[in-house]
Symmetry: C2
Subunit: 227 residues, 2 copies
Amino acid sequence: MNGIDLAVSTVIFALRPDADDRLVLSIPLVRRTREPFEGHWALPGGGADAAESLDATAARTLEETTGLTPAYLEQLYCFGEPDRSPSGRVVSIVYWALVRGDEAEQATIDENVAWFPADELPRLAFDHNLIVDYALWRLRNKLEYSRIAHAFLGETFTLTALRQVHEIVLQRPLDPANFRRQIEASRAVVPTGEHVTGGRHRPPRLYRYDATVDLVDRGPLTPAGIR
Amino acid sequence: MNGIDLAVSTVIFALRPDADDRLVLSIPLVRRTREPFEGHWALPGGGADAAESLDATAARTLEETTGLTPAYLEQLYCFGEPDRSPSGRVVSIVYWALVRGDEAEQATIDENVAWFPADELPRLAFDHNLIVDYALWRLRNKLEYSRIAHAFLGETFTLTALRQVHEIVLQRPLDPANFRRQIEASRAVVPTGEHVTGGRHRPPRLYRYDATVDLVDRGPLTPAGIR
């Protein structure tokens, strides 16, 4: 209407095994099949639809391009520099989500959809490298003071698994005893009373978060509740 | 282009004296002079311009409607529910800023521009009440763990003034000794070595923040640097 196209893109983070079976912070990308940036990899997404909420457009375009259906996508930031697309003015509302490994495996993978290590991306279409950099920075920042690491894990987990998530995302080793003290002091994590099953002499205890905490608490905004 | 209009709106927070000379958390509103919502109060803003960055549109439309020119506006959230405007689909990128009392006094006040107590608003145009509620929630949340209260004050301030800002925004009294301990422990505030001038027997010490901290740290995004 004012000569501006509105698009929605999504950054999905998951921990996925690489060729050496080491977990790597990864995002799914889609290869563009038309200009501009034909052949370049880009974030999943698509044009906004006048009849649909932005949240719904984010979920729909993500599913259409990758087959992924995270329970909840949250708004990250709106990117709107005048020169970010060579084919005219496009403002992109960017959503993000963290998904567990088993959810990530539901993605449709073909020659035009693939997972990439989030820290080793090729030159992406548009300003999508900047968008991923911003999402990575927000993720690492939130990990330090918030309770989002569990989104990469199942409902219950060991403290060792939780520490490994922090180590992979932050890209540095953490002292196990210090990590345990900090997590226990934060009271974000509570023991379930259960232990890892199996024949071990001292099976590790299982923990869970005491409440569902979203990536970004939206306060008075109603949750998207897309599906 | 896809049948969606893009607009920019701004929430400006300041502490301003009421009729009894008590400081109140306040925002400037603009009365609409055309449909939809003619005669209703609304957030300052306007339509996006295809040749202008969103940051620049936010600054320009704020100045055009209110005369306010905060040094830095930050993106708050993007509101895009399909039914938020009765005259067609409008997606609004919302910016926010905190300004000092002396900056707030630069606003053009006439019959169509006025300051309102942020917690006692009339029914605003569109979903602007929801937008203000969300901005208030974010402001109160950030005040608890961040270092943003100084944006309401000058470069140096007393701890009493800083505590009063917190009390006004959070709408509850804070214990002076506890507040002092928490602020000193956070190391966000450092004594300047100066004292309030005047003939008092024990003039209060002046403090400053040890760095400029924005409402929202934008990480890899370059600061708007609008003016």
